[in-house]
């Protein structure tokens, strides 16, 4: 199929950036969205222009490295990652706009590539269980009810892509943060640090320049791993309890 692409180009963090228009021809419906961009890049190369920078690594929907706003939607029209979006979703002759994640906490590095280190710093603030290597008790020493394990798994499925931030009108990282809090607090091993974790992670979220959550729900709508919106209420309940305990 043949397509018209409107793509955000920005040579570096200081550059103002602008939309540019390109045509691509002969794209296979079987190709992924990123393979389509690979084809465009080979053409740009042939024309002596610089290829478009975009992030990807696994191209299997699991590493969270890819992420582009496609036609105004983070990761595009299907609920999946950009690398798992396939061209059969589009039609011959379509015009597609392609932009980077937009959020103050995610500065643009180049074209469609942004810096998401702020998410790592939220994890550093408490998104872990404090256990040292070696000498852990036998794994069967603490049974975990299957429902809890399954729900923890569901929350742990977050790939840290940042689509939730890009989709949120406040650029809040609440879905990401709540997913981690929910994962860890559901497991007996994670409970002791719960309240401290919630408070510290939320403080870090503010410090990084992410907005606050006003329950809009755009985040869960685009989340490629379908992290349920109710992880946010889990976090809020923990926060309430933390406040009562004066953490």
């Amino acid at each position: 199929m043949n397509l018209t692409l409107k793509i955000w180009r920005q040579s570096g963090p200081e550059d103002r950036g602008a939309m540019h228009e390109y045509q691509v021809k002969g794209i296979s419906e079987e190709s992924s969205f990123l393979e389509m961009l690979d084809v465009l890049n080979e053409e740009l190369f042939a024309r002596g222009e610089e290829p478009i920078a975009f992030d990807s690594d696994c191209r299997e929907g699991i590493c969270g490295q890819c992420g582009i706003v496609i036609n105004g939607i983070a990761h595009g029209p299907e609920v999946t990652t950009t690398c798992q979006l396939h061209m059969r979703t589009f039609h011959d002759g379509d015009t597609i706009t392609i932009e980077p994640w937009r959020a103050e906490a995610f500065p643009v590095i180049k074209d469609l590539v942004v810096n998401r280190s702020a998410l790592d710093r939220i994890i550093q603030a408490g998104g872990y269980i404090s256990v040292n290597t070696g000498a852990a008790p036998d794994a069967h020493a603490t049974p975990v009810p299957k429902q809890d394990a399954d729900r923890a798994f569901e929350a742990a499925a977050c790939i840290g892509c940042g689509a939730c931030v890009a989709a949120c009108p406040n650029a809040s990282a609440m879905l990401f943060t709540s997913a981690k809090v929910t994962h860890l607090q559901l497991l007996p091993q994670g409970k002791p640090e719960n309240y401290k974790r919630v408070v510290n992670m939320l403080n870090q979220m503010d410090e990084e320049g992410f907005g606050s959550c006003t329950n809009i729900g755009e985040c869960a709508a685009v989340c490629p791993k379908q992290i349920p919106l109710d992880v946010i209420s889990t976090l809020n309940r923990q926060l309430g309890k933390a406040a009562l305990k004066g953490v």
Binding site: S11, G12, S28, E29, E30, S31, S32, L34, E35, D38, E42, F45, E49, P51, A53, S56, D57, C58, R59, E60, I62, C63, G64, Q65, T80, Q84, H86, R88, K110, N115, R116, S117, L119, D120, I123, Q124, G127, Y128, I129, S130, V131, N132, T133, G134, A136, P137, A139, H140, P145, K146, D150, A152, F153, A156, A157, I159, H183, L184, Q189, G190
Partner: protein, 659 residues
């Protein structure tokens, strides 16, 4: 070293041996004994010692977290934007451990035995035994970190069985085991970052190693966002940079997986072990066309219930599979290997799929004139267990398949084909995971030691975490304890300057070629040669041809590649790829030389000239019971082969048979 050039391609050097594994005690005590003998570093002194770790996959992430927590001063480098994205994240199937939670007679010895046998007796006994021994601790450690493994209603951990073994020892977290394990290691790592023991360098690629006075003393990295080359010195360096399957261009590896770190180290003296041992995974989604950038693996757990077949008659191949009656289907694995059936190990399943397609009985779209696909059919399983049960077990994989191919596997059988998946070769290391360059340690898929010529399912994750959480933290001390007297190195030391200059010269040289072909076009061509001649089946003639072709291609590369953009001041993804492909070109040649010299079929290495009358792989233990450790002899010089004899004191060598 021999003066004679063997086959016109390489020379033979003196034999080498692993001197660190205690062999005077029973194998079950070797690890305890080694730990006991290893020197310790006083906790107060640890922060004065700096360790560089390259890579944050299971091996590097776990090592960085553990060494940081012990109090060492750790610097960790990785090319992704976050440590959580390392390629380990993609592993779907599971991780083995000898817990015997199923009471099915599993034991450390059995896991050890299965791994050595599965690797076709080309792994080192002591290393594998330790891996099996440590495996049980890995699960404990991960559960303590909050890894949400699958559980049963009683609240205990669930297990499943995995390709090539007859016990249920595989722990899993739906189809996301690698992700969940890596997130555990990543969180442990971030905890150390917060504690100030570990410093992270995201989007930094290691492009050169600093060797001074014969020891590894640091690295040169390139900040990918700014293009700046930086030098970092340390007391020891750990490479945990994963596999090099991307030399084939199309593989199940992530786009950025590369050989640069280990290849640069190889060029500075580190031996490269068994480079040609490549694992081809049987259950991948077949290629769709020439715009393809990578291949996707479907977890091999699918083979527990799916049945593999092709039509008996070539003329049925284009028919709708549902219209082909039972009697016209050839369930070839069940036919040839009645006791293991669809659960034969990967090398066997892969080669038989290729045989069926080469016979003209493959299905699906034709690539270069041959239909390269076989059916993986769940109709019988759906009939037996019901659609809901199948969906509960494999639903996410079915969804993934449908997303990629547009076909619904509940209705139409899936199509699968083998693809390059894992590299058993890597830098040579001893029992301590130290390479022959003192102070250079290598962990995870980047080293060669534990899987022999073929890796059983669910054992790479085990190895990565074993190396990172349990082995390195106990062996590296022995080296570091003797580091206090090393001379100080700073930015202006000659060896540091030399490394920086050579990294700079390489960037400049790539930018200066200014030819007309893109890096990707070279990578694809190299991949084609490798797959054709050094892939699932190799012949002497083909390998010789490939070596010639790679040399030509490499020459053309340095005359005709063009790297657009700038080398400094901004992100340049073409330049990143250009450096990696240049290294793949050299490595590809070494892989072919290694494959050529090994005149036997062994695990993932199938030499057409060496097969049994039934067409099975034929090993030659009399001639090839060794690790091939290759030494770099200089630019355009024939490499030097050092052999490490493999000693089997605990396991009797047998021809593998799955019939």
């Amino acid at each position: 070293m021999s003066d004679t050039l063997i086959k016109g391609l390489y020379r033979e050097g003196e034999k080498i041996a692993d001197t660190k594994a205690p062999l005077d005690v029973p194998i079950s005590q070797s690890w305890e004994e080694r730990k006991f003998k290893a020197a310790l570093v006083n906790p107060a002194n640890r922060r004065k010692l700096r360790v560089i770790i390259v890579g944050t996959g299971l091996a590097g992430g776990a090592a960085a977290a553990s060494l940081g927590e012990m109090g060492y001063n750790v610097e960790v480098f990785f090319y992704q934007d976050s440590a959580r994205r390392a390629h380990s994240i993609a592993a779907q199937g599971g991780i083995n451990a000898a817990k015997n939670y199923r009471n099915d007679n599993d034991s450390v010895y059995r896991l050890f035995y299965d791994t050595v046998k599965g690797g076709d007796y080309r792994a080192r006994e002591t290393n594998v035994y330790r891996l099996a021994e440590v495996s049980a601790n890995i699960i404990d450690q991960c559960v303590a970190q909050g890894v949400p493994f699958a559980r049963e209603y009683g609240g205990l951990l669930d297990n499943r069985s995995f390709g090539g073994v007859q016990v249920s020892r595989t722990f899993y977290a739906r189809g996301q085991t690698g992700q969940q394990l890596l997130i555990g290691a990543y969180q442990a790592l971030e905890r150390q970052v917060a504690a100030g023991t570990v410093t992270e360098h995201p989007r930094h690629e290691m492009v050169e190693i600093i060797v001074s006075d014969g020891r590894a003393r640091g690295i040169v990295s390139r900040d990918m966002a700014t293009g700046k080359l930086e030098t970092h010195v340390a007391d020891a360096v750990v490479l945990a940079t994963g596999g090099y399957g991307n030399v084939f261009f199309l593989s199940t590896n992530a786009m950025g997986c590369n050989a640069t770190a280990i290849w640069r180290a190889h060029r500075k003296g580190a031996y490269f072990g068994n480079p040609c041992f490549t694992q081809i995974h049987p259950t991948c989604i077949p290629q769709h066309g020439d715009q393809q950038s990578k291949l996707t693996l479907m977890s091999e757990s699918l083979r527990n219930d799916g049945r593999i077949w092709v039509p008996k008659k070539a003329e049925d191949c284009e028919k709708d599979p549902r219209e082909i009656p039972e009697e016209d289907r050839d369930y070839y694995l069940e036919r040839i290997y009645p006791s293991f059936g669809n659960l034969v190990p990967r090398d066997i399943a892969s080669r038989q799929a290729k045989n069926m397609c080469d016979e003209g009985r493959g299905v699906g779209p034709k690539i270069d004139g041959v239909a390269r696909g076989v059916y993986l059919d769940f109709a019988e399983a759906i009939g037996r267990m019901g659609k809901d049960a199948v969906s509960a077990k494999y639903g996410n994989l079915f969804d993934m398949y449908e997303r990629i191919t547009g076909d619904n596997p509940y209705e139409v059988p899936m199509r699968i084909y083998p693809a390059v998946h894992y590299t058993m070769g890597g830098l040579w290391v001893d029992y301590d995971l130290e390479s022959n360059v003192p102070g250079l340690y290598v962990a995870g898929e980047a080293n060669f030691s534990d899987h022999g010529a073929n890796r059983l399912g669910a054992s790479a994750l085990m190895q990565g975490l074993s190396d990172g959480y349990f082995v390195l933290p106990n062996t590296i001390n022995d080296y570091l304890a003797h580091c206090f007297n090393l001379p100080k190195l700073d930015e202006s030391s000659p060896d540091v300057v030399e490394a920086l200059q050579s990294a700079q010269a390489r960037v400049d040289r790539l930018m200066a070629v200014n030819g007309s072909r893109s890096v990707d076009s070279f990578h694809k061509e190299l991949g084609h040669i490798m797959w054709e001649y050094c892939g699932m089946e190799r012949t002497e003639e083909g390998l010789k041809k490939a070596i010639g072709m790679i040399r030509e291609l490499r020459k053309e590369y340095w005359q005709n590649v063009r790297v657009p953009g700038k080398s400094i001041g901004e992100l340049n993804q073409s330049l990143e790829k250009a450096g990696r492909v240049a290294d793949f070109m050299e490595l590809g040649e070494l892989m072919c030389i290694d494959a050529l010299h090994r005149e036997e079929s062994c695990g993932g290495h199938f030499r057409a000239e060496s097969q049994t009358p039934e067409g099975e792989a034929l090993r030659h233990d009399d001639k090839f019971l060794y690790v091939a450790a290759w030494e770099w002899a200089g630019e355009d010089q024939p490499p030097v082969l050092h052999k490490e004899d493999l000693i089997y004191n605990n396991i009797e060598l047998k021809q593998r048979s799955y019939k």
